[in-house]
């Protein structure tokens, strides 16, 4: 049980690392938000799944806590992409131009 | 019900405010009487408590909220409110002045804030709740919460003045929050070493076992500086003149006499009860600094009042100088000095209240209080003018009024402690106030306007309405009454309230 928890959490952290790198290295607003939106959601969900197993007591799952964490996952799943979408929307209205191959960020 | 009197002092204005806030949506006219009755109940409770106190043997009345009292080794676990000789007087003064100010302000609020007075009286009552709470509480953290109640409602009351009052109120908010934060931090420093918040338990702990603790000392300085910021003591006085000048008449008349005085009370309470006179005397650096600052504060307030042309601004700078009197008197830390300081809290509350009420009356009839434009005031509003002269005489310290006696004690204290700069500052400020009084008399009495210019034979009498004039007169006459009963006040209350003070 413990190893499953470690597995999920480590994978989540790897995705988090990817998100951070993407947020820093991608060329324009939209791709950066893409990295933040997708990577962030997935890694949070993975870490929370890891938490379900981590709080289990010697091989037994604590079902009520697991249910609560599942609810949290549900809300992260709804909330995080919506927030990203809202920011994208505002960014487009504010006039952020997508990057193109010529390397001009205008 | 007698047992519950202490809580009703605070609870009545609080409930009055809540009911006023509710009724303002259904019967806006009702909110004023609701607030008034709340203040009246509070006044009655505090008045009855004085008699109960005089009859009690211990000279102190406790009320433990929630029934959580002394639990042996743990000390007092709940919040306790206490009434003793020191604060019973101030409670009564606060309730009387707020009741009179409420009656006084009904007309001016109706005129100045026509159609916008929703919540004005609710906030008025909440401010009184805060001030009474600061005075009555026996718990240093509870005091902080009451401080914030008073502060938040006064920001709103000042902001009712529109125009420049918003910026004045914002500056007050920054300064007031800074003061409250420093106070809270000081409470934290005391709490680290004592683990209790109850004033009585602290007064047993600090003077005996924690004399040498640096943390407790830092806490002491922080609490005092926080209280100074709240009361507009010298380096932190910048917010006061603007805030009180641009506030509406009614807010000014309530805030000016009470808000700063209650902070002075809080400072004295911390000094003599939580810490002790001994502790104050053993930190001579702070004492010297405080005395020097109070002298500067008195002089700065007085000189700035000379340069102003607006009667309200002059009155505001008077407050700055009067704060110097009280802080200085308290920090002299000898018997006459402390007596003078405590007596001056009450005397100055009455004097400032009278001054702002008179100014309110003049504002109500003439619409401005520029000194130049007050010519012939005596002929137009004779009663108001006489009240103004009596109030100014009290501020100068002319014998039958209360101002004389407080000054007498303060100068005596300064002489005993050998701080001549403080005595000198007191005398100079009296002189400057006398100059201003003569200027007012010259403008108001000697400059007779020519009535024929407006086609009248005589100057028309135009006094403020009775609902404003009567409270003004009551407060003004109380200045003389306080002076006459000085002896009773000092021996029956103030002398009993102060601890034994070691002879120099």
């Amino acid at each position: 049980m413990e190893y499953i928890a470690y597995f999920f959490i480590v994978v989540g952290l790897i995705f988090f690392l990817g998100t951070s790198i993407g947020l820093l290295r991608f060329p324009d607003f939209y791709t950066r938000m893409h990295a933040a939106g997708k990577g962030d959601t997935l890694s949070t969900v993975l870490i929370l799944v890891g938490c379900i197993f981590a709080v289990g007591n010697q091989g037994d799952l604590n079902w009520i806590l697991a249910l609560k964490i599942l609810l949290i996952i549900n809300f992260v799943f709804i909330g995080s992409p919506t927030a990203t979408h809202a920011m994208m929307d505002v960014g487009e209205r504010a006039g952020a131009k997508p990057w193109n191959k010529k390397g001009e960020n205008k | 019900m007698i047992k519950h009197l202490p809580i009703f002092i605070v609870l009545a204005p609080l409930l009055g405010a809540v009911f006023a806030a509710l009724t303002s949506w259904y019967r806006p006219k009702l909110s004023f009487p609701v607030v008034l009755s709340g203040l009246f109940i509070s006044f009655l409770s505090s008045f009855c408590l004085i008699f109960k106190l005089l009859n009690s043997e211990s000279g102190i009345i406790h009320y433990q909220l929630g029934g959580w009292g002394d639990k042996g080794e743990y000390g007092i676990v709940g919040i306790q409110i206490t009434v003793d000789y020191l604060n019973s007087l101030i409670l009564t003064a606060v309730t009387i002045i707020s009741l009179l100010t409420a009656i006084f302000s009904s007309q001016s609020v109706n005129r100045e804030l026509a159609g916008q007075q929703r919540y004005f009286f609710a906030l008025f009552s909440l401010l009184v709740t805060g001030l009474l709470g600061i005075t009555i509480t026996g718990d240093i953290f509870n005091l902080y919460v009451f401080m914030e109640i008073a502060a938040l409602s006064s920001y709103a009351l000042i902001a009712y003045g529109k125009g420049r009052s918003y910026m004045a109120s914002f500056n007050y908010l920054i300064m007031g929050t800074m003061g409250a934060c420093l106070y809270l931090l000081g409470v934290g420093f005391v709490f680290v070493k004592t683990g209790t918040l109850n004033i009585e338990n602290l007064s047993l702990l600090i003077p005996q076992t924690l004399q040498a603790s640096q943390a407790v000392f830092v806490g002491f300085v922080l609490i005092i500086v926080g209280a100074w910021a709240k009361m507009a003591f010298f380096p932190m006085h910048g917010w006061l003149p603007n805030a009180y000048t641009y506030a509406p008449t009614a807010s000014g008349a309530l805030l000016a006499p009470l808000a700063t005085k209650v902070s002075v009370y809080a400072m004295i309470r911390i000094m003599i009860t939580v810490y002790s006179i001994d502790y104050v005397l053993k930190s001579p650096n702070i004492q010297t600094a405080a005395l020097l600052l109070s002298s500067i504060s008195i002089l700065v307030g007085s000189f700035f009042s000379l340069t102003q042309t607006n009667l309200r601004k002059i009155a505001c700078y008077f407050i700055v100088s009067e704060i110097g009197y009280m802080v200085g008197g308290a920090w002299l830390a000898n018997d006459p000095g402390l007596k003078g300081a405590v007596y001056h809290i009450i005397a100055d509350a009455a004097m400032t209240s009278a001054l702002f009420m008179v100014i309110g009356c003049i504002l109500f009839r003439t619409g401005q209080v520029e000194l130049k434009k007050l010519d012939g005031l005596f002929y137009k509003m004779p009663i108001t003018f006489i009240a103004l002269v009596i109030t100014m005489a009290a501020l100068i310290g002319v014998p039958p009024t209360c101002g004389f006696f407080s000054k007498f004690y303060l100068i005596q204290g300064a002489a005993q402690a050998g701080t001549w700069h403080f005595a000198g500052a007191l005398l100079i400020s009296s002189l400057i106030k006398a100059v201003i009084l003569f200027r007012i008399i010259e403008i108001g009495y000697n400059k007779v306007p020519n009535p024929a210019k407006e086609g009248n034979k005589t100057i028309p009498r135009d006094e403020a309405p009775l609902s404003m004039l009567i409270p003004t007169l009551i407060v003004t006459l109380s200045l003389i009454a306080l002076g006459i009963f000085t002896d009773t006040l000092i021996t029956d209350f103030i002398a009993k309230a102060l601890p034994e003070i070691p002879a120099p």
């Binding site: - | 709103a156 910026m167 934290g188």
Partner: protein
Amino acid sequence: MEDIIPKFNYIVVVVLMMTGLWSMLAQGNLIKKCIGMAIFQTGIILFFISIGAKNDALIPILTEGANHTFDNPNIDKVTNPLTQILMLTAIVVGVATLGVGLALAQKVYQQHDSFDEDEILNNQTK
């Protein structure tokens, strides 16, 4: 180092509070003043919470456990609840003050079209 680490939180508290204090005094911008005020307050809250913390202690919610029963809790292993209550009050007072400050700042902005203290002063004296 041995002296500093056990008291590191106090040092952070003091630095935080003094940044807040400086910001309240020196910043010209009204909103920045409000943020500085909030940071000052969080500094104080952090101070109170750290004096109430205990080594290896549980949260102040009693549960039936191994060395821990409802009726006879192990007092050294439960965090001090008192400082937490005080700070709950302080947080709420803080947000109330922040709200009033922001409302006043909006009003000032309406009049002077600026959040900068110097500009406002210039406008007023004109």
